[in-house]
Symmetry: C2
Subunit: 327 residues, 2 copies
């Protein structure tokens, strides 16, 4: 029997989940749920209902094995994940690192009371990058961790630029600095400042009559977002922004550089190069949905992170197949 998936929230990530389900024959999309007027939401899959989010609470939603929560971390998920964990097995991609302990506790309480299983902070960072930080620390207990992001679009930094007076639209790329990456790969264990690890490149559309020099100055001096980086600002037209910068690539690198007790240098490197950040994140969520459905069927309830999921649970294949073909 297929694992029946519901999608709560139909933005880029929700749409990515819808697409990812098509690549997994054992998964079935049974409903898309939205806080918007469902009649205004058009999905890609024929025959699947789009329903108001209220349907998840009033008993009118179809049977769901795992509900994938595709809301934002700032305000949606802190409320949404505990709420729906009280009703369904759920997965989210909560990515506010500093608030993960509180979020985990709230979701765990709700899931345990309801007998559901809830995975928080799945995706690639947090998620796959977290796994590689953990593995690196376990296999090389004496060493240094390095995470580089990009080249990719940072939604938060793009939003910050858009809030500046005179800016009509903007996209911001986070770019890892090659020489820093190479220094880490060489085993030098460099101590790298913020400025030495990444640059930021901004493509900005001005409103009519806006002062370009003033906008540029506001960007490069913006505390927390840009002041600690070398930042380049390009002013372009809305047409060029739409044509050249509407894709959502991302990726990055996690490295662990350490020494064995015999003083031998070992370097573990994990990297992602993603032409679509939301579509890849969605693919990760769908694989973890398979794991969550299985864990719940086994009676393993409460909140989980990717650290708690044995890798075999992610695969549609059984242990015999995996050992014969992938071990």
């Amino acid at each position: 029997m297929s694992t029946r998936i519901g999608i709560m929230g139909y933005g880029n990530l929700g749409k990515g989940v819808e697409l990812a389900i098509r690549q997994n024959d054992d998964m079935e999309l049974v409903g898309v749920f939205t806080r918007r007027d469902p009649s205004t939401v058009t999905i890609c899959t024929e025959g699947v209902p789009v329903m108001n989010a209220a349907a998840l609470e009033d008993g009118s939603a179809p049977a769901i094995d795992v509900l994938i929560l595709c809301g934002g971390s700032a305000t949606d998920l802190p409320e949404m994940t505990p709420k729906y964990a009280a009703l369904y097995n759920v997965i989210d991609s909560f990515d506010t690192h500093a608030k993960i302990p509180d979020h985990f506790a709230a979701v765990d309480a709700a899931a345990k009371a309801a007998g559901t299983t809830a995975l928080i902070s799945a995706g690639w960072d947090p998620g796959l990058f977290s796994l590689n930080r953990l593995f690196g620390n376990c296999f090389l207990p004496e060493g240094s961790d390095y995470t580089f992001w990009g080249k990719g679009i940072s939604q938060g930094h793009s939003d910050a630029i858009r809030r500046i007076e005179g800016v009509a639209d903007a996209k911001q790329y986070t770019i890892p600095i090659d020489s820093a990456l190479e220094a880490v790969r060489s085993g030098e264990n460099p101590e790298l400042t913020t400025r030495e690890k990444h640059t930021r490149e901004c493509f900005v559309v001005l409103e009519e009559g806006a002062d370009a020099a003033k906008v540029a100055e506001e960007i490069v001096t913006m505390p927390n977002y840009f002041d600690a980086y070398d930042t380049t600002v390009h002013f372009i037209s809305q047409e060029e922004l739409d044509a050249e910068h509407s894709a959502m690539p991302h990726g990055g690198f996690v490295l662990r550089s350490g020494k064995t007790a015999g003083d031998k240098t070992c370097i573990i490197e994990y990297s992602l190069k993603l032409d679509s950040n939301p579509e890849f994140t969605a693919s990760v969520l769908v694989a973890y949905a398979r794991a969550i459905a299985r864990l719940n069927a086994e009676g393993s309830i409460g909140a989980k992170s990717v650290f708690d999921i044995a890798p075999a649970y992610l695969s549609p294949f059984d242990g015999d197949y995996l050992r014969a073909h992938m071990l």
Copy 2:
């Protein structure tokens, strides 16, 4: 309380395990066991007994939580792992990929009958590379797998050269071809022949009076080992071999290149650069020993592979710490 580790077999890997335990405060080496005369074996750790392997069966060994089996895959482990799984929780690094299903079945039967927990095929390949093959296939169901090994010394190929008449000693390096790696990284999904993926470089010491041209010809035409590769042979002195080629570096690359259902290219790359193959492999075994001790304490018995181990079990830190610091 510490996890009490026994080491069965004291070659490069066994010594690596002894060293790796020093980097893990929650692990304690309680004994080294050997089929040699124990009085001929000197270990690095004071106060730890070196005992004949018979002690593992006659009740004279100290209490052991996990016995790490550091034998060879060709003849030692197929016999050793089921035998000791009937007595102890065990870990091996069995690496004959084609025989993994049989080995797993034999170990599983022994461990289940005895109530022990046994991890087979841990290390980096099989092991960490296997995990990355599995993850890649789960997150990008439509795609291609690539594994490159090296630059590193292949024990099997070095041994094959040493068996040639006229050869006194030899070391063989397996070297991935950069242009092939770059083609994979570009997302082209190339179909690569054996010759296109790796070259082989041999450093050979001749016996006095041996015919260099004949030895070189025998090497490069050796079926299975060298005939499908571009192979370079260097003749050097024993002194140079000992001075320049006695380290045991290795490593490699696992890549998954795939497309999302939205036709976006995504590439996952995992790589290791190891100045000591046995010391790093040993570090991996020690982290998995922690997991196996925990699983056995929870009543999870029988044979396991790395696919069955939730990553959190590898760490000395608890879930709260891991979520706060690594997620």
